[in-house]
């Protein structure tokens, strides 16, 4: 049970942490705003093409806000973000925020499933590797971990589809309607994460095994299973939670590639489409949403870490 003082310290820490991320969020928004100004040449001309009429060109310029001074563009950009007006495509007239909102749940679903799969693989594998240090299982888990980090998702994805969809016929090739559609993209996205997590679990459990309380638990005759799963794992999993949170942000970025491999209808594939369509406002919106989610998840993880482990000083 957490005491009132501890809760107050945590609330204070949370408030402080939130104040710290404000300049970071400001910098992210400003960087995203400035992106359109690094386009070589005239972004409005590139958007409408060489054959567009003068009227179409001027409309695009005004939609992109390029007909105003830079500072006005910047304040308009902030105003639009806050009001939920993230711009519209001058050609298709589709609202940016609406398109992103329709795709966002698919990306989160994919990333969460990938995280779940990675956790289910890495905890038993990491614990077994640590408790059987130097054995075949240990070397095997290290090799799998290194492969998971090194094999790009755009090679692993097609390979999994080839084996499980084309040869064995147990999963659909692509699409997003059912649970079966989710499995291969989630495994592909989660592979690198399970590799990293396995190493973290192994290393963390190895560290805990050296602790005095483990010796005590063993000395009083507890079965090894209870020592590992009731005592060691509880403490050993704390760093794992942090890595899980930090890796969730990495998964969001990784989803851009995985979504393209499987034609998964998320923000990542929307981002890639927006780049090839030169829909600058949509590209900015997608980048902003992914980056903001990343910052918020990381902050949340930081808080969860301190909540889970009272030994960490809330300074």
């Amino acid at each position: 049970m957490i005491s009132f003082i501890a809760m107050r310290a945590l609330a204070f820490f949370a408030a402080r942490r939130f104040v710290i991320i404000l300049p970071v969020l400001w910098a992210v928004v400003t960087l995203v705003f400035l992106l359109i100004h690094i386009v070589p040449g005239d972004p409005a001309r590139q958007l409408v093409g060489e054959n567009a009429t003068e009227e179409q060109y001027q409309t695009a310029r005004s939609e992109l806000g390029l007909d105003k001074p830079l500072l006005t563009q910047y304040s308009d950009y902030w105003r639009g973000l806050v009001r939920g007006d993230w711009g519209t495509n001058p050609v298709t007239r589709q609202a940016v925020l609406g398109r992103i909102a329709s795709r966002y749940p698919a990306t989160i679903k994919l990333a969460l499933t990938a995280m779940l799969i990675a956790t289910l693989i890495s905890i038993p594998l990491g614990v077994t590797a640590a408790t059987h240090k130097g054995s075949f299982v240990d070397s095997f888990s290290t090799m799998i971990a290194l492969l998971g980090i090194s094999l790009p998702s755009f090679a692993l994805g097609p390979l999994l589809v080839l084996i499980f969809s084309v040869d064995l016929g147990v999963t659909p090739v692509s699409g997003a309607g059912s649970l079966a559609n989710l499995i291969l993209p989630a495994v592909t996205l989660g592979a690198a994460m399970s590799a990293i997590l396995t190493r973290v679990v192994r290393s963390s459990v190895l560290e805990e095994l050296d602790e005095d309380y483990v010796r005590t638990a063993r000395a009083k005759g507890l079965p090894e299973r209870t020592v590992i799963y009731k005592h060691v794992l509880k403490n050993g999993l704390i760093p794992v939670v942090t890595v899980l949170g930090l890796q969730f942000g990495v998964l969001l970025a990784g989803a851009i590639i995985t979504e393209r491999v499987f034609s998964w209808p998320g923000v990542g594939s929307l981002l890639v489409d927006s780049i090839s369509e030169r829909d600058y406002k949509l590209t900015q919106g997608c980048i902003l949403v992914i980056a903001a989610t990343y910052v918020l998840v990381n902050t949340g993880t930081d808080l969860a870490y301190r909540f889970l482990d009272p030994r960490i000083k809330l300074d």
């Binding site: 992106l35 690094i38 090194s150 094999l151 080839l162 969001l252 590639i257 780049i275 980048i287």
Partner: protein
Amino acid sequence: MNKVTQFGFAVAGLLVVVAALSPLLASWERVQSQDLVARLDSPDSHHLMGHDQLGRDELSRIIYGARVSMLVGLSVVTISSIIGILVGALSGYAGGWTDRIVSGFLFNVFLSFPGILLAIAMVAFLGPSLKNLIVALSVIGWVGYARLMRAQVLKVREYDFVVAARALGASNTRILLKHILPNSIQPLIVQASLGMAGAILAEAGMSFLGLGVPEPIPSWGKMIDDSREFWFTAPHLFIFPGVMIALAVLSFNFIGDGLREKLDPKQQGR
């Protein structure tokens, strides 16, 4: 040095040699010439990796792909390490407000962005080219070196020999270049080796998304993307480039891990 690290050095060395000698090992004509009758052909004794979707020789394209991969990797590591070392050294050595702005704000901003997302954003707006790809990956890569260098400077500057050098009237530049940098170089080499693996993987990923080097230069990531319609009828089109990317990344990761273990005995077995 253990066997895994030796394997890493052997494969990485071979890849660098292949990249450097690619015009001698394969002809540029075979990279480009299309034999539509042979399109999607599986590997045989004349074409060891078969033909791609346009009937081009896959092996020649893989060999030239090594060139892009190594060139981008080495350039990104060189540029980002130079920037990172300078910024990190300045931040750690100057201290005060400079350090607060650099390490408290700049590092946080760059680390709070998923690196690859920032690179995608930059190339999406700058336009895909070899130069822009290297610039974008260097922009996201320097922070790792800068943090490491800053930490090293903070540690090493308290050592007696640095204090002695200062007492003898050595200038800041001399202390940084002659005393602090040589004592910080080992962890930087480990970081560079892991950074090389990261840059190769990022280059392949960006090329897969259509944000890498433009045609007609072959890149492993782009080769996988270009053949997406034929992945399941001609799997050699994604397997060969995929294996090459994995081997390149794995070899530099092995080198980095091996060197770290050698330099930091506490890491052994962890």
